[in-house]
Amino acid sequence: MSVDEGRVVVRLDGVRKEYGDTMALDGVSLQIRAGEAVAVMGPSGCGKSTLLNMIAGLDRPSAGDVVVHDEDLSRLTETGLALFRRKRIGMIFQFFNLLDDLPALENVALAAQLTGVSAGQARRRALELLDELGIADRRNAYPAVLSGGERQRVAVARALMNRPALLLADEPTGALDSHAGEQVMDLLLDLNQIGQTLLLVTHDERLAERCANRVVSVADGRIVGERSLERTL
């Protein structure tokens, strides 16, 4: 993975998000540099996932700027946002969000096929990724018959399919048992170590300490603290 080490890839400036009377984010400013692994932590409902959604272009801020990889997301149309996600963002969800109707290989290949890559090329790349993640033998299995860890690895492979500049993970170990959680943590750590910029949203202190080199604490929609970490390998 090519990394422009030290370059700002995410910049949030005074971002606010309101849902009716509820203030989910209240003037959040944040920068993430290329190659960083940042963990966003905080209690439930503090605005962590909203913050992640803003960066991924899944939701729009009520006020403030979100710039990712030099793209001002507020200026993009829905289609523009979709193309942006395709090229720049890989997402991992707590509950995997795989398509139940497609086997693992097709789930992974789908991300590339949406960009117009041929089916053959997409499958080859998907198989490489599944192989790297140790689940190539499960390529024809449907999500329903995969274990939680396997599903999350398929989700990671899908997220990496288009070589994203930024990998976003929302509670990636939240739905996994401890063993599967460990495996996913190792995977994320490995990815970051080879230069993948990573933004994690998690409750899990262990995951943050293991994978992140910076922790951003959020409470009541505001950033209330930041600290750098020496990762425990």
Partner: protein, 772 residues
Amino acid sequence: MSAVWRAARAAVRRRKLQTVVIGIVVLFSAATLVVALRLLVASTAPFEQVFNDQAGAHVVAVYEPGAAGPTTAPPGAVAVAGPFEQVVLPAPTDTGMIYLPDSLTVVGRADPAGPVDRVEVWDGRWATAPGEVVIADLPPAAGYHPPSQVGTVMHLRDGTALTVVGFGYSVSRTADAWVAPAQMAQLHPTAVEVLYRLRGEPAAPTVDAFTAALPSSGLLATSSYLVIKEAVAAGPGAYVPFLIVFGILGLLVAVLVVANVVSGAVVSGYRHIGVLKALGFTPVQVVAVYLTMVSVPAVVGAVLGSVAGEYAARPLLSNAFQGLGFHGDVGNGLGVQVTAAAGILVVVLLAALLPALRARRLPAAEAISAGSAPRSGRGLRAQRWLSGARLPRSVSLGLGLPFARPARTALTVAAVVLGVTTVTFSGGLATTVARYSSIADRNETAPIAVRALNPEFQQGTTTRSDEDIERLLRSLPGTRHVTAVLDKEVAVVGQARAIRVVFLRGDRDEVGFKEALVEGRWLRGAGEVVVPSALLHERGIHIGDRLTLELDGHRTEVTVVGETMSASIGDPGLLTAWETLQRLDPQEPIANHDVMFQIAVTPGTGIPAYLASVRAADPGLNAWDNAGVNTFTVSMISLSTTLSLMLGVVAALSVLNTVLLNVRERRRDLGMLKSIGMTPRQVVVMTVTSMAGLGLLGGLVGVPVGVLAHRFVVPLATSAAKVDVPRALLDVWQPGMLLLLAVTGAVIAVLGALVPARAAARLTIAEVLRTE
């Protein structure tokens, strides 16, 4: 407020779209059901219903004045009315807008009521004094209010003035006009009529036996109610089986569609059911919540639909049954409305109950996970093949979705198949009815009729012979085909009663007779006859038989070469070439006014202008537009078209609902696909493609099913009613029309998918992924 009601009310509020769809589907289904039931009730022995309502006369006997017979009621009669004095008079000519037959049977009667033949006075009042007359006519159709003709003064040949004081309807057709008994003395009655009502619905032998037992002294003639019944059954009554098929189809479609929509709504709510259980709702309460939830829109829909159905049914039935020769009063149908509303609610509750009971047995956790736990995908090969196909991924994904969920796919396809089958079948039936009408009255082919005025009744008659008239008509601009038609009562050797024979001259192949062939072939020359089905059955005649016709002592042999549809009112007649008459009796005198000419005009020729040109060419000719006379055909076609449209709307709603549910179920998947970079356009394309594929499949299955059903059911219904119809009535399909129908399923599915797909494409992904 109970927890059940609170939960149900909340569910109704949360599922506004689904609630509205259920309400609309139930509304249309209830309306269709009311129309269908009203149709079935009215179509079941319509003649008998009206006949019994009026205490119709099974036998009308006409005696010489002063005969002893009328005073004695023979055994077998349950009621007798009369004797009423009677006279047959030439009709007055100054009748204004009132249509009267050439010869008018006038009866003196003090009262329209009585034990037999209760005449329904539908406009004005009964004649109570000399100088007053009540005219026999059908009441106008419901909703149609022509200006009243009461007050019209007409003059008989002897100068007697009669004022029309009312219009009455007698299904027994006992008179053309009624006057007060005091008026009759002045009209010089020539006979008396006595009306007999027998027990039950007497068959021909009973009627014959009764007639034979009547005192013969002074008896001039008798007529049986079976003649009127036969005329109705063989003519316009042939529509009754079609109406019954429409009724049954409406019934089935309404029930199936409601069952499909409601059960789909409950199945899509399984997760909600799990949540309710987790909250502590007992299984019975869960079922109650769901029944209440679907009952709210269903009750509203059923009540409004029943009322709407009644409003739709009344004018349709009134028009149709007036066309069938009965009065247009079709009652208020309150019983049918209540039955339909209650019936549809029972269907709704049963359709909801079955899946709700299944959900009741599910453990709460399993029910909750019904909407979110991973399902095991299917159709790996299809998915892989589509994934590798040279198609945009959004299209191949859409096409692959149905393979992944065969059960849901089957449900969707079933809804489309039902819809397309219904539209195909009902559309075919409507076309069959329209074609039947056009064959039956031949007015579309040859809309103009011309006849020389009768010197006995009318002034300004022509001196031209019938052949000269034909030549004149052929010479007029705009004439395309002319056929001369002459009716004669002819004896057939070996047959007890004479038979009406219709002699045809000129373009007999071109004015619509040929299209009515059921079996055999059309006439090629002299010595051949084509026999109407009714006559064929009644007289035991077969194709290939040789008959000997006898007229004024002359005989000729004819061969039966074909069977034609019985559709005309009156006695059915043998059709034969004019040359047969010349063979039979070349000297037979033919009055020019005995011959009617049926004329087809060239395209672009205006009928009013053509009629004017005929009258201008010879003022002694009466020319009229037959096409405008038969409002019955129009009402029949409008009835079948309306029913077809109603069924189509109900079926389309069912497809729309299934597609809506389908797309809503996929909201999470759509959100996920957007999160990995699927554009809104791709979301729409994928969703629409998945449903279009199913719609097309449903269309491809539904069209042949509809065609087969039409081909199977129509002959079944017509043969059950002992009505033979030409094969042409079944060949109502054009390839283009079939293609259009096959695509209809896809179009409905696409339209149904487009709205929720566009909404899903616009959804905020974060919201979808959070709420699912």
